[in-house]
């Protein structure tokens, strides 16, 4: 088991998703059980399903100095940075520690592939159209290169792309950089946007629900795809003792199959055990688990096998019925939702789950619940059997 780590303070955080822009919009939707899923109106030939689309991205071009990064994914990144003072907090960290002492680690599964798809739809005699002849957006690093430019962060700048665990792993990479003293702060997060690759790709795998995802419901029949931008600024605890904390994380591989989870949940359990060991927290102290809960038959079946390890009083929910599965952004988005649960003392419901799987029912919150949360976990599992579990705790009393 890994050794215990020093926790890190989360000195700024925000999320933008189908629930709206910023923390207040998310808090309101989660407390009131309001889903952001809506009929699919994305792409030239929309599939019959529901999606979690962020309103207004089309009407929010990047500021002129960043025009070369223009694409849907970077627009969403910019919208996300502008909420809850994230960009200002990053600027303060750059000011305080120096630009090269701040790292940028973001997760994304598809980055700006939507722009590459658009170029292929509009090829001009086999060549990309003029407005899309920009190599910086036809790379999976497009997001990080743009956010580095937009924030002035000058330290290590890294894209993690491990499918649906991408932005959860960003927290782990950043912690190691800070622990070794290479940087003093890190902006972490994830951004993924709707694009044909994921809509038709998950459709080809027969993993998309037509009527909307129902995590941990007996009748669940697949995912709803969403988009999101979520960020968190990590610093050492002495910089902000009362701020909520990243207490631990665990990473593992299933070594099983490219697109289905290891059936007895060993991989997920290894990530959970490592996360609690790094945090130095016993499983009995866990108050809330934000489950990966994609609402595929397999994911939820395997993830439910973890629940009996938690104390009977622990509460669990999957929030993809609110936002859809935001893929590479899901880890960071759900980390931010877990932080909201700690800060505001409530458990978000598993929206969309009406008939809970009996083996999960004892832990699942189906309605919003008011309760003090000291320790919250967030699970993220990706294609290729890539698992991450994050542990968040409350800071010192103010």
């Amino acid at each position: 088991m890994p050794a215990r780590i020093e926790p890190l303070a989360i000195t700024a955080a925000s999320a933008t998703s189908a629930l709206g822009r910023g923390l207040a919009a998310h808090l309101d939707a989660l407390r009131n059980g309001r889903s952001g899923l809506a009929p699919n109106d994305f792409s030239s030939a929309p599939l019959d399903c529901r999606i979690g689309r962020v309103a207004g991205v089309e009407d929010a071009p990047l500021p002129a100095p960043f025009a070369r990064w223009e694409c849907r994914n970077n627009r969403l990144a910019w919208l996300g940075l502008e909420q809850d003072g994230v960009r200002a907090a990053a600027a303060r960290a750059v000011e305080r520690y120096g630009a090269t002492r701040v790292a940028l680690v973001l997760g994304t599964s598809t980055a700006s592939i939507g722009a590459t798809e658009a170029a292929y739809r509009r090829l001009d005699h086999g060549h990309f159209p003029d407005d899309l002849r920009r190599p910086e957006i036809h790379t999976p690093h497009s997001l990080v290169a743009f956010v580095a430019a937009a924030t002035g962060i000058g330290g290590p700048a890294l894209t993690i792309s491990t499918a649906c665990s991408s932005s959860a792993k960003a927290f782990a990479s950043a912690e190691r950089l800070i622990r070794l003293g290479l940087v003093d702060a890190a902006l972490v997060g994830g951004v993924d946007t709707l694009c044909d690759s994921v809509l038709f790709g998950f459709h080809s795998l027969a993993l998309v629900s037509r009527t909307g995802c129902r995590p941990f419901d007996l009748g669940r029949d697949g995912i709803s795809i969403g988009e999101a931008a979520a960020f968190a600024l990590l610093e050492r605890v002495d910089a902000a003792p009362t701020a909520p904390r990243l207490a631990g994380y665990g990473e593992s591989s299933d070594a099983w199959h490219m697109s289905t989870p290891q059936p007895d949940g060993r991989g997920a359990l290894a990530a959970l055990d490592a996360a609690l060991a790094r945090a130095g927290i016993h499983i009995d102290a866990v108050d809330y688990i934000n489950l990966h809960g994609t609402a595929t038959v397999k994911n939820d079946e395997v993830e439910a096998k973890l629940l009996p390890r938690f104390p009977a009083r622990a509460r669990a929910s999957a929030t993809k019925g609110f936002t859809g599965h935001t893929l590479g952004a899901a880890g960071a988005l759900e980390a931010v939702l877990a932080l909201l649960a700690i800060e505001h003392g409530f458990v978000p419901p598993s929206l969309g789950c009406a008939r809970p799987m009996p083996e999960a029912a004892a832990w699942l919150a189906l309605q919003p619940e008011v309760r003090r949360i000291e320790v919250a976990l967030s699970n993220s599992f990706g294609f290729g059997g890539n698992n991450t579990c994050l542990v968040f705790t409350r800071g010192e009393p103010a």
Partner: protein, 266 residues
Amino acid sequence: MNTLPALRIAGVGAWLQGAPDWPSLRSVLLGERGLADTAPVKPAANILPAAERRRAPDGVRLAAEVAAQAVAMSGLDAATLPCIFASTHGELAITDYVCETLAHAPLELSPTKFHNSVLNAPAGYWTIATGCTRASSAITAHHRSFAAGLLEAAVFACAEATPVLLAYCDVASTGPLAEMTRTTLAFGMALVLAPDAAAGARLTLALDAAPAAAPGPAGLALARAAGDNPANAQALLLLAALAATRSTRQALSLSSGSSLEMEITP
């Protein structure tokens, strides 16, 4: 603290058409021989089970080949090694296929090609083939992808006190996307980095708060030889230093404001 503790380079793997392993690429880098012109076009990737190898896209075969070479040289068990897979572009041929198919017949998209399109496909195939249940990751940083992967692997090895496998690979671009991605050959290399004091080549990394100097004529020639792919050139710079007989220092561009200084003692 800007400097990481020294790491032992416990294993090296490499594949370039005409130099399908580290000993042959080392000879090429030392000018002892040229690239073999009757070489196989694809890496053997025998570590993948036959069925997986047939399904695996080129980048996965390349990554599996160089990773297996490095792990074999290290004498360590692949199942016990956390692994970092880095690439500038990922599976370019699959990206071309996916975009082309989506433009004309989106409902015909192949599910296998879709799950092979993720940047962590090599990590997935590798961990499945070797039974590795440790952390695995997939890293990219455009033209600095090798430097980013090297830093990630070294930081993991130092922070967690464990040997780590790093595999860096890019395949040649194809289709209309090639004008934007410009990489003309398949190249891969892998390292096993161990935080121990055993005898062997050593690597010391430091973060420098200054951008790396623009490459000189030798560096530009290396980049051309590396298929016009700057991250390939970064990886070859490390391998050339490792092939040399005395200790050398090189700086790799890491981000717009910082560079990764490496000192290599063969």
